[in-house]
Each structure stands twice: as C-alpha cells, then as structure tokens.
Symmetry: C2
Subunit: 331 residues, 2 copies
C-alpha cells in the first residue's frame, strides 16, 4: 500500500453560516427548537432571515469545519461538496482553499443557490440552526474521485448528507472506494433527527463493518442504540467499531477502541460565546491525533482543546492558532 | 418647519466587508499601504481575495456603519445607497434593515455586483482596505427622494462617494434639498486620497457654506487645509463651519463650534482587535449626541465610546449594546 497523499478526505454539505445573536424568546417565537438543527426550505429560510438581526457570514458545513481544524493542525486534507455559481459559493470555495484544503468539486450553475445555515446564537452561546441545503443537495455521483478517496488515510463522512439520495450514493461509493484501498472510514451521525430518519441505514453500515470510527454525542448514541443509559449505549455499540467516540457537551467525551477506554473532561474556557462547530472541531482534534498515531487519551484531549477554541468565538472554524494551542497544552 | 421624521439620512457606499487577519508582511508583499484604503478594480480584487486567508463577511460602508451606530443609539435613520440583485446585495439590505434603518433604494440588476471591501487586519488591529465599489458606483440621481432628505434633521454624506459622477450628483442634489428645507448637512472627508482627488470640490462646498458639520481625521485636516500643524489646520478651517470635528486616532478628538472648543481622549480599551469603522462610529456617537442636543464635550465623549466599542471586535458595525454602554458611562 503506497503512502497516501491526504490524511483525510471528507464529503459534506458546502454551507455558509449566517449568524446573529438573539434572545431565547425569539427562538421560541419563531417556532425553533433551541440547540437543534432543522432543515428548512427556501420560503422558511426567507421568513427566518427576515426575523434575524444584523448578521455575519462565515463559511461552515460540519465536515468542512472538521477539515478546517485538521488542516490548521497540519493534516493534509481534501473536501468534496457542492456549491452553486454564486457569491456564497465563491465565499465557501475561497475560505476552504484559503484554509489549505484541496477542493475540486466544480460549482453548479442555476438554482438552487449555495446552501446556507441561519444560526441564532443565544446569550449563553447555545446555537439554533436552520439549514437550507441548496446546491449541497445536488452533489452528483460524478463529483467523487475514487482515486482521491483511495489516496487518503481516512474518509470522513457527515451524517447530515445522508438525506438527499444523490449525496447518499456518493457516500456509499466513497465507502466502497475506501474499503477497496484498505483505508479508514470515519462517520459522524451529526444530529438525532438524522438517526430518526436514517437510523436503519446507519445501523446497517455499522453492522456490515463499513464504519471504523464513529463520532456521536450522547443524544445520538441513545437514538442509535435505543439505550437511554450512556454506558449501556457505549457497551452495545463499541464492539461493532474500531473506535467509538461519544461526546457529552460540557461533561467531556469517551472513546473506546477494542478493549481500551479513555475519557476526557471538557477544557475549561473563560466564556462560551457560540457553540456552533463544537462537535466538528472535537472530531478535528481527535482525528488529527489519530492520523499522527497518538494514543486514545491524547486524541480525546486534542479534540477537547480544538472544541474549546471554537466555542470561545463566533463561527465554526478555528480562529486561534490551533497548533500553538496544542503545543502550549501538550508541549 | 415641521418636525422631521428622521434624525439622520445618509448617502453612502453600500458595501459588504470581507475581513481576514493577516501578517504585516503580506500587506507589504501585496503592495498595499498599511492602514490605507485603496479603490480596486475587479481584477485586483480577485487577486487580493485569492491571497487572503479564510474570511468573514460583515456589512459595512462608511456612512452605513455610522447609521448602524446612530440607530443602535435610538436615532431614526434612513440610508440611500446602491446594491446589485445578488447575494451580497441581499446581505447588505437585510443587515441595514435589521439594524432598524429605513432603506428604500431598489437593487440594480446586472453587472457590476454589489460592492465589497477586502480588509486585511494586522495583528495590532490596524486595517488595510481595498474597495471594489461595484454597484455602489451606479447610484442613479433618481434614487434620491428629496422629500426624505427634507424630512431628516441631518443629511450625512460620505466623501468616499464623491468619486463617481452619478453619486456625486446625487449628493449635490441632496445638499440642495437639505438646504432648501433648512436642515443640517454633515460631511466626512473619509480618506486623504479623496482630498487629493477632490479637495477643490470639498473646499468649494465648505467655502460656499454647503457643509455645517465636517468630520475629518488629522491627516485629512492637513490635506484639506495645507497646514501640517494640527492647530493651524483647525484655526484655518473651523471659522468656515458650524462644527468641525477632527479625530486623532489614539490621541482622541477635538471639536470646534463657533467660539467653543472641546476635546476628548480616546476611551481606554482592553485590546484593539480591528480598527475598521473607528471613524464611522465616532461620527455616530457624536451625531447621536448632537441630534439630542447634548453639549459639544458630551458629543465628543459619545463618539469616543462608540469608536472604542467597534475597534474591540471584528467588523465595523456595533456588536455591544451601545445604549447600555452610554448609560454606564454617562448615567
């Protein structure tokens, strides 16, 4: 097996985040579930945008955020995801390339426009997301370069992308390409409602050994396993995976790899400004350690440091020098 | 004279800022003048954007930023400026309306796209701006509602807009409308190079009494008067204006109104993050005091508080509750 050119190749939604602070009352008034992520159509997106205060636009997308963290930590990365030929598409493409990530998916002409996520940020930093997937939905099977997948140590897949049939097939093909090349497949379940919709698919992927590393939070673990108890959930899922990583918000995270178990507490930070991207950056820190061969505990710690950075400011991509933060923390 | 519906109506460039941190070395390499503002064409904008790191997009435009500050402080505001029918145009229009500002200029179809300003922010917070004016250049004379100008206590004009002939005519017409209605005309010289280009026009406006309140910084004061000495510059210009407000970056500001003179020091802040919008928000704080009938010293102090808030974070529009800040500072 030749040395791969990439540490991680990811397939995900290509999204620009539109973020504004808001009172919890507005979240309720607009019929949103605080802390959740809802898929919205163009009409609902327009309605919510009209109710939103002055905003800022920052590139996002779950797997793309994870790659931004990985790249900042020195990993060689490539991204596959669909934007439209519009200004938000140019912004997304610029930002991901400027983060040092290879990105070759051509933009798609015509409607719908580039996907966006309207994010209402509560005073305590909790984020409530409303995603209009736009062009992301239309990632064609032809966009996948199977050679590029075979040329990456890890294939990272975003559960959010499982909804539309086109991107779902892209991910199935990518898994096959990674498997054929003997690469590692990592998957994030993304959000409880994706498990409500596609839990059967996710469980089948796990049961047939298509996933090596699974990232989920405690809510998603419960939804996936049907076990309300965290430990019971871990016990039922871990034996089917090479590595299971389960986060618990402020209570830290657990990883289980074969017989080994490691835990980490959340990194203390001064103020939670915006929790958007916490899970994405946790995965970035963890995978960054993993591709460098760090032990399980250190991988978790790196995840916690990266997550702490991203929730200390607006936006789901790292702003501080993550390498310097890791050096300061671990020497 | 009836009570006007607006405190301030402003005419300015409708711009979305594209901001990224950068090293001073990159500013030099790209041939930019640190701390300056350059007008760039589409080709140069593309070149600079390609060299820029991951960025965030936040609505800007000098006079629009000033209105955002004024509106946050409770002033009733209207804005006139041209965007295109594109995503950045939608972002600009959303953000200015979400800030509580009336904005009725219809977007313009076709090329060029909405204006943008590529802002490189140095580690010490100094900003270097490259403005592609885009649709802003094409503000038509018909966009001006003379009745709205007559219906505002203050007409606020942005010197940056003097370059293209169309918007220049809009501003001349607006001055005439304000004068006819007995309203106050405020003008910011914006940038030394605008004075290099159009100083003769600016001096003529001042000499013919078309401007009541002039905002400038110490560099612009020198360029406008030909006096290198700050005090000599003030002495030569102040007698021609109702109020002259001259800022001096970290050294505070001076205002002269008839025989009265007031000074203020810059507000101390913890860390300068991004100086973009400092002058715009100084004008906002000052005018907010002015329309409420505060004394000259207090107007300056309000300018200093608003400027301090905007340079303590990324972006040229206020993020903190300016009203609360003023209340905390002045009771």
């Amino acid at each position: 097996m030749t040395q791969p050119s990439y540490d991680v190749i990811a397939i995900g939604n290509a999204i620009v985040d539109v973020m504004a602070p808001c009172a919890d009352e507005l979240v309720a008034e607009l019929g949103m579930v605080r802390g959740g992520m809802a898929l919205v159509d163009a009409e609902r997106a327009t309605e919510l945008y009209a109710a939103m205060g002055p905003a800022r636009e920052i590139s996002g997308g779950s797997a793309a955020n994870t790659l931004a963290g990985l790249s900042a930590l020195g990993a060689r990365c490539a991204f596959v995801g669909q934007v439209a030929t519009d200004e938000l598409g140019e912004i997304f493409a610029h930002d991901i390339r400027a983060a040092g990530i290879d990105y070759a998916t051509p933009p798609r002409a015509g409607d719908p426009p580039t996907g966006r996520c309207l994010i209402f940020v509560s005073p305590d930093g909790q984020r409530t997301m409303n995603t209009f997937l736009g062009a992301s939905h239309f990632l064609p099977v032809a966009a996948l370069d199977a050679d590029a997948v075979a040329d990456a140590s890890v294939l990272y897949l975003e559960g959010y992308m499982w909804d539309p049939p086109g991107p779902r097939q892209v991910m199935r093909n990518a898994i096959a390409a990674a498997r054929a090349a003997g690469r590692t497949v990592a998957f994030t379940t993304s959000e409880v409602f994706m498990i409500d919709l596609y839990g059967a698919d996710f469980r089948a992927l796990i049961d047939e050994g298509a996933i090596d590393i699974l990232f989920c939070n405690h809510h998603e673990l419960a939804a996936l396993t049907g076990e309300e108890d965290f430990e019971a959930g871990l016990a039922s899922l871990a034996p089917k995976l090479e590595i299971l990583v389960a986060t618990r918000s402020a209570d830290g995270a657990v990883a289980i790899a074969g017989g080994e178990r490691a835990e980490v507490l959340a990194e203390p930070i001064e103020q939670v400004v915006d929790t958007t991207g916490a899970g994405d950056l946790f995965a970035a820190g963890f995978l960054s350690g993993h591709v460098r061969g760090e032990n399980l505990k250190r991988c978790l710690e790196m995840g916690a440091v990266a997550a702490a950075e991203v929730i200390s400011h607006y936006g789901a991509r790292p702003e501080a020098d993550l390498k310097a933060l890791m050096k300061k923390r671990f020497g």
